[in-house]
């Protein structure tokens, strides 16, 4: 078929289609999200689903593999932490239909809370791993990984990074191969991981890894490009592209596409032939440590940083002492451009009121609402991993109580994040008699990652209308006696809810319910929320320049220093009326309704 320009994520989706995958599941997370969104487009051929979290996604996929299908799970790297439990089991049990787990790492932390190098998961869980370095490889390696998975009876970790996921390059596509599902065979000695069984499987796993090392030495996923032998470069993933860019024909390359287990014989043979041996890796010295442990001399992290994203310039400077000339100018004076809550974002009203409360610790969570912790709202004390707002808030509250502190904790969590792992944490609060205040910010969609459906939004990934989880009902059934749902754009409703909750001596839940301003409203949404009407405008003669409205952090509002008045950009204003409620002199009015 033809050549097209695809992102790595699109290419993986294409690869899944071509390789005969029939079931796939994921939880969104940058930079992995578009893989499953693209798989979802192959509607008749692949059942693609959003799971509430990564553990569930991987378990669904494992079940589907046992039932005989070729399957794929995709997630961002921290998602693998959530899915680690089933992953380690799957390593022991192996597969029936081929199973690929895509981990999309984020060197440079473009949109993540840490910079973990998930290649260590392959070694830790003792499973095979492939690492594509561009879109063509991303597509081709899906088939290769599924075949390895079936041949060696184990899940395969498919490790990508931001630049591979979101970089576009040319891809030669082909037709889909129809792969008949394998028959399911009940086999307790394989799938019933009780200690007696796992002890045996553990032995078998080591055996498989030995065979895989042999495979690794022979597969052309690990290939040598002989050029100038004075320098040898061993590299994988996008780092290979950078090394290739920097050294051109002035080095020979051992390009590793299959990186667990490493092809140590091939590496030894390569090392023997070259002068200086460099290992060029992004993030941790995963390959380098193993090469050094095998007694092969090489240079790597002595020169190349393990922090942050790699780039050709970094490699060139570290290994060749080259520095490109750049334009010299004063950069310090450029104001930064941090992301902000959008104009009309329903989180704004909630955080505006939250920011006014005293004697509270706000345990935050991950999502757009995390921006409620930035200037000028500043209503956040913590942000760790998904779901942590509720449990961390609970733990802190317990200590405040025991030390007679009058601090109260308020947890803020988005709808998708609540479904992800917040429910478990709330269960802990209820079970242990906590009295934290949990605010579930239900903007009717998974916002931060670009509007994915979730269990509360009414549709599946492939657009099938489905049950809508009623968050209020859910938390009541769990055991929360005090539940209030408010419109976060109505500041008095939010304020009253806080007063109410702070007076209670039991756990409470406040649900803010209003759709994301960027959401494509469903017909149900439209019925419930209607459309925003009109825009807000400042009557200049009334404005006293007090900047109260500016404290809402709305990007449509601008303070003009010369005339000391606020102006609202009508192209940006969504007419949410939060600023209007804040203005002490009623200078802001609704126009065009």
């Amino acid at each position: 078929m033809g050549r097209t320009l695809l992102t790595g994520n699109e290419a993986v989706a294409r690869g899944a289609y071509e390789a005969g995958v029939t079931y796939a599941a994921a939880y969104p997370g940058t930079p992995s999200t578009e893989i499953m969104e693209n798989i979802a487009m192959y509607k008749g051929d692949i059942l693609a689903e959003w799971a509430p979290n990564e553990k569930v996604a991987l378990e669904c996929v494992i079940g589907a593999s046992l039932a005989g299908a070729r399957v794929m799970a995709t997630m961002k790297m921290v998602g693998v932490n959530v899915a680690a439990d089933p992953l380690f089991c799957a390593a022991y049990a192996g597969v029936n239909g081929g199973l690929v787990l895509v981990s999309a790492d984020d060197p440079g932390l473009h949109s993540s809370q840490n910079e973990q190098d998930n290649r260590y998961y392959a070694k830790f869980a003792k499973i095979a791993m492939v690492e594509p370095s561009d879109s063509q490889e991303a597509k081709d390696m899906v088939l290769a990984a599924l075949e390895i998975s079936e041949e060696y009876d184990m899940p395969v970790l498919f490790r990508m990074t931001t630049r591979v996921c979101h970089g576009k390059s040319l891809v030669e596509t082909s037709e889909r191969r129809q792969v008949e599902p394998k028959p399911y065979v009940k086999n307790l000695q394989k799938y019933d991981l009780i200690p007696a069984v796992s002890r045996k499987l553990r032995v078998g796993l080591e055996e498989k890894l030995k065979q895989l090392e042999e495979f690794s030495n022979n597969t052309n996923l690990n290939f040598i490009e002989w050029k100038d032998k004075r320098i040898g470069v061993i590299s994988s993933g996008v780092a290979y592209q950078y090394a290739r860019e920097v050294f051109g024909d002035q080095a020979s390359y051992l390009k590793l596409g299959f990186t667990n287990p490493l092809p140590l014989d091939k590496i030894k043979a390569f090392a023997k032939e070259v002068g200086t041996l460099y290992v060029v890796e992004e993030l941790e010295p995963f390959i380098e440590e193993q090469i050094k442990a095998a007694g092969i001399a090489c240079l790597g992290k002595e020169k190349i940083p393990n922090i942050g994203e790699l780039a050709p310039a970094i490699v060139a400077k570290a290994l060749r002492g080259e520095k490109r000339s750049t334009i010299d100018y004063d950069q310090a004076s450029i104001p930064n451009r941090p992301p902000t809550l959008c104009a009309g974002c329903p989180h704004r009203g909630f955080f505006y009121e939250l920011s006014k409360l005293k004697n509270i610790m706000v345990t935050g969570d991950i999502g757009c609402y995390g921006l409620g912790g930035s200037d000028p709202l500043n209503a956040k004390d913590t942000s760790y991993d998904m779901g942590a707002s509720i449990s961390m808030g609970y733990g802190a509250q317990r200590v405040f109580e025991r030390s007679s502190s009058n601090l109260r904790t308020i947890s803020t969590i988005g709808d998708s994040t609540f479904f992800h792992t917040g429910i478990n944490s709330l269960l802990h609060v209820i079970y242990n008699g906590g009295k934290t205040i949990t605010c579930i910010l239900d903007n009717r969609i998974t916002g931060m990652t670009g509007h994915q459906e979730n269990p509360g939004s009414g549709f599946t990934l492939q657009g099938v209308p489905t049950k809508i989880v009623d968050i209020g009902e859910l938390v009541r059934v769990l055991g929360i006696n005090h539940v209030r749902t408010v419109n976060p754009l109505k500041l008095n409703e939010v304020r009253e809810a806080f007063t109410w909750a702070l007076e209670l001596d039991e756990a409470s839940v406040i649900i803010t319910r209003w759709p994301c301003v960027l959401k494509k409203l469903s017909s149900d949404d439209r019925k419930e929320f209607g459309d925003y009407l009109g825009k807000c405008a400042v009557a200049e003669e009334v404005c006293i320049g007090c900047k109260m409205c500016i404290k809402t952090g709305c990007p449509a509002l601008r303070f003009n220093k010369e005339i000391k008045k606020v102006k609202i950009d009508e192209t940006q204003c969504a007419g949410c009326e939060v600023c209007l409620q804040v203005c002490p002199v009623k200078a802001i009015r609704k126009v065009g309704e």
Partner: protein, 193 residues
């Protein structure tokens, strides 16, 4: 890699840099070049600074452009041109949209929008300043601002041999081909200076 050319598009989330990157890379591909493109999604969408990097030539390895390496920097917003200027080669060209989008610290009055940016850039590299918003407005659709800038880019990179109008028509939303092509032509013209 002297035969590889580097185009850096920068702006603010929502300004349409991604569409321009798509048109550009598709056209370059149809002209027989190896093409790689890189963009970062995620947090950047929420009004942050965004970049789109396109590299093309006979064979391209790295998908990203290094500091000092871009042959052309096309900035959809004025201040962003300054932020990304270190990526431009001292021998490169800057195409800067004379169009300001104040960022959060400016909106709240904590910082001021820097003055004299265009003069600074002009003093450092060959620079074309474009009033793309005005041009798009005159054509009759302010949303074609990105395509105006694309026209200036094509002129700046002397990529005029590619059948861009066909590429544009194949990519933009149905019914908007004509006005986008008009914007493209206007941008080419504005980029001549």
């Amino acid at each position: 890699m002297p035969d590889v050319k580097n185009i850096l598009l920068v702006g603010v989330g929502g300004q349409g840099t991604i569409l321009v990157g798509k048109i550009l890379s598709n056209g370059l591909m149809s002209a027989g070049f190896d093409v790689k493109m890189s963009e970062v999604h995620g947090m950047a969408q929420r009004g942050g600074s965004v970049s789109n990097q396109v590299r093309y030539g006979k064979k391209v390895f790295s998908p990203i452009i290094d500091k000092g390496q871009a042959d052309i920097l096309v900035s959809f917003e004025t201040m962003e041109a300054l932020r990304w200027l270190e990526y431009l080669s001292p021998k490169g060209k800057a195409v800067v949209n004379d169009y300001r989008i104040p960022s959060a610290p400016i909106l709240t009055g904590k910082s001021d929008y820097p003055e004299g940016i265009l003069a600074v850039i002009k003093s450092k590299v060959a620079t074309t300043v474009i009033k793309a918003a005005e041009i798009a407005q005159n054509i009759g659709n302010p949303r074609t601002m990105n395509i105006v800038l694309f026209g200036a880019l094509v002129r700046g990179m002397e990529l005029t041999d590619i059948e861009w109008e066909k590429v544009i028509a194949g990519i933009v939303k149905a019914g908007t081909a004509e006005i986008n092509i008009e914007a493209f032509r206007a941008g080419m013209k504005a980029g001549e200076i």
